[in-house]
């Protein structure tokens, strides 16, 4: 029994690692061939939202923190990146870095205030903060209110990678997405991630084991803000604009939907979920407000009957971890 107990975990671990490696290779391959079958702009948009959902999932999936205001990070980073690229004429990588830095700072301030509350209080506080950021964006002169920042130049990354070439931009966005995805995966699989999961399962016990749980949760929140900011800043370069939609409450709701549909607490769930929700928006656009109704119905269906999401259900069927 003892021997078995000591072998089984490492066995499943190496199996998990193999499955994870295969899944990652499949995803890279799909990204590589996707532009031959679908509109590249659409795929890039989907990758930005997928990264955004991965950032959100880091909180809900591994720390059980439901942030209902995550659009503030996506939107702020998009505005800062767009402003830096257009008005200050910065090259894209520095503009993205500035956007991410702004998002990280916002994540630190709001996180430090919100993290002391848990559960639904935390969710309500994040709603309120994101609404505050929204109103600031409406009023602040540099965001240009309802017009947003239009015609953001894509420029030459690091001075020589010409992002105005659609193919190069596609590769650039893919690299950013895969980098962010791996950062989230690495964080979850690190000792830091294990502590987060321990806090999720039983916070008092984690405290009694000597962990400063607030600091770990805050670190997770800031990391999530950084990844969401990376997604937002990249999105601003892809769509060449930053607008109030990016900071709006509906965007915060959409990222919850993406993660819920795909599967909370799975690596690939948010990616699949983002692809589905972005497709829904694209292909159902002519139905106007019906998209909101459909999204709401998917929400209700997922919560009532489908809590593990698509990837979660598949992984449970195949008894693997994705």
């Amino acid at each position: 029994m003892d021997i078995e107990a000591s072998i089984t975990p490492s066995d499943t671990m190496s199996q998990d690692r193999r499955v994870g490696a295969i899944a990652f290779v499949v995803m890279v391959a799909l990204i590589a061939i996707a532009p031959f079958f679908a509109y590249p702009f659409f795929i890039m948009q989907a990758m930005c939202f997928a990264l955004f959902a991965c950032a959100f999932n880091l909180l809900i999936g591994y720390a059980n923190l439901l942030s209902l205001g995550h659009a503030m990070f996506l939107g702020l980073a998009a505005y800062v990146c767009a402003h830096a690229a257009k008005v200050w004429g910065l090259e894209p990588v520095s503009a993205i870095a500035l956007g991410v830095a702004a998002s990280a700072a916002l994540g630190f301030v709001t996180g430090a205030l919100a993290i002391r509350s848990a559960g639904i209080y935390f969710a309500m506080i994040t709603v309120a903060f994101s609404q505050m950021v929204f109103f600031v964006c409406v009023e602040a002169p540099f965001t240009h209110g309802e017009d947003g920042i239009q015609g953001v130049p894509q420029g030459k990354a690091l001075g020589f990678i010409d992002l105005s070439n659609p193919w190069i931009l596609y590769i650039f966005v893919s690299v950013v997405f895969l980098f962010g995805f791996l950062v989230v995966q690495r964080a979850v699989n690190s000792p830091f991630g294990e502590i987060l999961k321990a806090i999720r399962e039983n916070e008092p016990r984690a405290i009694s084991l000597g962990y400063r749980t607030l600091q770990y949760k805050l670190a997770a929140f800031v990391l999530s803000a950084v990844i969401a900011g990376l997604a937002g800043a990249t999105k601003a370069l892809v769509s060449q604009n930053a607008s109030l939609t990016d900071v709006s409450f509906s965007t915060s709701g959409e990222v919850v939907l993406m993660t819920l549909v795909g599967g909370m607490g799975t690596f690939y769930g948010p990616v699949i979920g983002a692809l589905i929700v972005v497709s829904m928006q694209n292909y159902l656009a002519q139905f106007g407000e019906w998209v909101t109704v459909i999204q709401g119905m998917v929400f209700v269906a997922c919560v009532l009957a489908f809590r593990r999401g698509i990837v979660g259900e598949l992984a449970a069927l195949a008894k693997i971890s994705l």
């Binding site: 919100a114 903060f129 407000e289 019906w290």
Partner: protein, 296 residues
């Protein structure tokens, strides 16, 4: 008076104070409903704004299609929308008992999207006017300002309903059952009280409070599909500031924050949309459980 470079006249000051009190009335009714529902069901009702909007629409429909006037709407709309709430509880929320309360939040969030999307489909984004009942038109001259009768009525009606709710929960036998069931539902069930029915009725009652606020708001803000979504984030902030533990706390916080928002419009208009959130941040810094809340 001269502040921040612009002159403030007395009528302007009192005018904004009045608007603040009106908004405060809505915040108080809505956060009270949220607190009642939270106390009993342990969920945050994200669809609260949507029910508030439905309350206003119910008043509009009653007038358009059945000719029932404002006073009927004031009674019927909360009853109808409250019944809708009770059905929602029985059909959906009940199934989530025993799961993480976050699922309740997500479910009501989805419901809010459905309701709001449907109304937006049929009525667009623009508002429909709802006339002030003729008994409440006109204004009183208070000497220092004119008080429109309807606005005075809204403040009084809301304060009265809030007070009555507090009285029921804190001072009656029914309220005692309710509070007992909040503490220990199993024990209360053992005494032969139908707790599931009480939960359904409580949810319906909280929703009815939102609908009542919606009817009160209809002549002031126009009847719009987006009216609930606009107010819900502020109401959440009010709830966080007041703390979920106290009925009286949520009423007081609602009124006070409405007034603070009104005063901000006078002295520093640019911040009037954000002031409640800034106060929330400060309160969280000093008292993470809210002003009237108990420690979790």
């Amino acid at each position: 008076m001269n502040l921040f470079g612009h002159t403030i006249t007395m009528p302007e000051l009192f005018g904004q104070l009045l608007i603040g009190l009106i908004n405060g009335s809505f915040y108080a009714l809505l956060s009270l409903g949220l607190a009642v529902i939270f106390g009993m069901l342990d969920i945050v009702n994200f669809a609260h704004g949507a029910f508030y909007m439905m309350g206003a629409f119910a008043a509009y429909f009653l007038l358009q299609y059945t000719g029932l006037n404002y006073w009927w709407a004031l009674i019927l709309s909360p009853l109808i929308i409250g019944a809708v709430g009770a059905i929602v509880e029985r059909l959906f929320l009940k199934r989530l008992a025993g799961f993480d309360p976050l699922y309740g939040l997500l479910l009501t969030f989805g419901l809010a999207l459905i309701i709001q999307g449907l109304f937006q489909n049929y009525f667009g984004a623009s508002g429909m006017p709802y006339a002030i009942p003729k008994q409440l038109t006109g204004a009183y001259n208070l000497g220092f300002m004119f008080l429109p009768v309807y606005r005075g009525w809204v403040i009084l009606a809301s304060a009265a309903v809030c007070f009555a709710t507090w009285l029921i929960i804190e001072r009656t036998k029914l309220g005692a059952y309710l509070r007992a069931a909040t503490e220990n539902p199993t024990m209360v069930r053992a005494f032969g009280i139908n707790v599931p029915r009480m939960v359904t009725l409580t949810y319906g009652f909280g929703v009815a409070l939102a609908a009542f606020a919606g009817v009160l708001a209809a002549p002031i803000t126009q009847v719009r599909p987006g009216m609930g979504a606009d107010i819900i984030a502020v109401v959440f902030a009010v709830v966080v500031i007041g703390g979920m533990g106290s009925i009286l706390g949520s009423i007081l916080t609602g009124f006070v924050l409405g007034v603070v928002e009104g005063l901000t419009k006078v002295f520093y208009p640019e911040a009037s949309n954000t002031v409640v959130f800034v106060i929330m941040a400060i309160v969280l810094l000093i008292r993470p459980t809210g002003l009237f809340g108990r420690a979790a």
